[in-house]
Each structure stands twice: as structure tokens, then as C-alpha cells.
Amino acid sequence: MLLISCPWCRVERPEIEFRYGGEAHIDRPAQPADLDDHQWAEFLYMRSNPKGLLAERWRHVHGCGRFFNAVRHTVSDRFVCVYKTGEKCPDLEALAREGAQ
């Protein structure tokens, strides 16, 4: 069973306590009314979908209930690091250079 560590609870927990929340660091446009349909569709639907490291939102839904962010490798399913909502996104390219996979 995959263990995911929660930065709020500060423990590793089984995957089934968590829910996936999509790609992280997608900012909602400050003025949605100013966007045309194409720009709005970009915000709503277009994601980076890399083969490699991805910063994602996860929610410890059956634990503390909080959202947090995690860097996961989309091929190996390995969690590289987790950090709290609001904290800066790690440098994914640097992590990749360091050999995270």
C-alpha cells in the first residue's frame, strides 16, 4: 500500500485516507469577467500533464481533512515531497536534476 505523508498531521498514512485534487498552483483569474472563452477554457481545463515530476493538490480527507501539495512522479507514482498549502512550489527541474524519479 502506498504511504503518503501529511504535512499537517506529520505522519505517513495509507493512500486510502487521501483524495487527489488535481494540479497545484493553478491560480484563479483575479478578474474572470475580463477573460474570453478561450482564456477561460485554458484556466478550467488545460493542465501540464507531464511524464515526470508534477506538483499536485491532495486532501487528507479521512484524516485531518486539510488540503496540501505534493510533488509526485507521474510514472513511478513516487512522492518526492509534500508541503502545506500556501508554501512555495519546489523547483521541479532542480529536483529532477537531483535524480528524483
Binding site: W8, C9, R10, R13, P14, E17, H62, C64, R66
Partner: protein
């Protein structure tokens, strides 16, 4: 039996769910239960009014006599209180009083306070095989090194969400939603 003054075995018929030499599962008598959410300031005021401070450390519980404040999340706590007389009914007067006192103490500071006394029921799982029995449905490491006495957490009991609190080396309390209780009891009885 649990190592807190809070939980007493229920006196109702069928309160004994499992009775084996090495493990027992017993329904606990009803308690006043409050769900509290708010920031550290709100939690501080609530704890002073409640009589047991709301722990800020993850997975911590603070039992004080017949009160206990359980950390569920960084802004969420479950508050438990017993009235002192074991009965078959929820101590509604106590729940009402605590609700009023906490609401008054926290005042206009943003918070949420909900009486959930009748939402939960508690099961006391006790004996040398308590951890082993729970581990048939709970996917946590219940070794005392990983899950020490006093630790509390929300987790899954197969498909039912529970709050699991280790009140002693061989004693756990399972707080589960009332409608999940037959499922939880059934799996423990067959575990």
C-alpha cells in the same frame, strides 16, 4: 476498561459486543459531543470555557477529568464531556450548557460550534488483542512506538470513517457515526 474518567460502559442490553478472554468490545455510555472549528485564538477561548484546552499539536488529545478535547485537524477539534451519572440518554443539559458557555467565550471571533452528541457512538476496545482486532479493519501501525498512548486520529475502519483514540496500552476508543455502528460492530464481532 479505558484509562480515562470519560468513558463508561453502557448499561443497556447488548452493550457487550465482543467478550473474549483476550479482547472485549463494549458500547460506551452516551456523552455530550461538540464539533469545534476555528483558529488558534478561537480555540484558546473555547478551551478556557470548556475546561480542557484544545491541543494544538497534531494527533494530540487532552483529557481533563470528565472532559476531553481531541485534535482532528489544524483548525478542528472534537470536544467530549460526561455528566458524571451514567445513563442511557445523551446528557442534553450538559451539552446545552457547554455550547452556550463556549459560544459566549468565543463571542464574535469566527468559529463553528455544533452539537454532535447524537451523531457519534463510542466503542471501547480493550485487552491484549485489542490492536490486533482493530488491525483487521484499520490500516494504521498500532504498535505503541508508532501510535502511542494518548494519540488520537481520524482514519478509516475499512469503509467507515472513525476517530481512533488510544487511551491505554491495551485500550482504544472508536468513535463512529451512529449509522455506521452496526457495520463497525459487525466487523469487530467477526474479526
Amino acid at each position: 476498561m479505558p484509562d480515562t474518567a470519560l468513558y463508561a460502559p453502557a448499561t443497556t442490553q447488548g452493550a457487550s459486543v465482543v467478550s473474549r478472554p483476550d479482547v472485549t468490545v463494549t458500547r460506551a455510555a452516551p456523552l455530550a459531543r461538540l464539533a469545534f472549528r476555528g483558529d488558534a485564538t478561537a480555540a484558546g477561548k473555547a478551551g478556557a470555557a470548556f475546561g480542557a484546552s484544545l491541543p494544538m499539536a497534531p494527533l494530540a488529545a487532552n483529557p481533563v477529568g470528565q472532559r476531553a478535547a481531541l485534535w482532528l485537524g489544524p483548525d478542528e477539534w472534537l470536544l467530549l464531556a460526561a455528566s458524571g451519572t451514567v445513563g442511557e440518554e445523551v446528557p442534553w443539559a450538559l451539552a446545552r450548557t457547554l455550547c452556550d458557555e463556549i459560544a459566549t467565550a468565543v463571542g464574535t471571533h469566527p468559529h463553528a460550534l455544533v452539537d454532535v452528541s447524537e451523531r457519534n457512538v463510542a466503542l471501547i476496545v480493550s485487552g491484549p488483542r485489542a490492536a490486533a482486532l482493530l488491525n483487521t479493519q484499520v490500516f494504521l501501525d498500532l504498535d505503541e512506538g508508532a501510535f502511542p498512548v494518548g494519540q488520537v486520529t481520524r482514519t478509516l475502519f475499512t469503509k467507515a470513517e472513525i476517530v481512533l483514540w488510544r487511551t491505554g496500552p491495551d485500550t482504544f476508543v472508536v468513535e463512529c457515526w451512529r449509522s455506521f455502528a452496526p457495520y463497525v460492530e459487525g466487523l469487530l464481532a467477526n474479526g
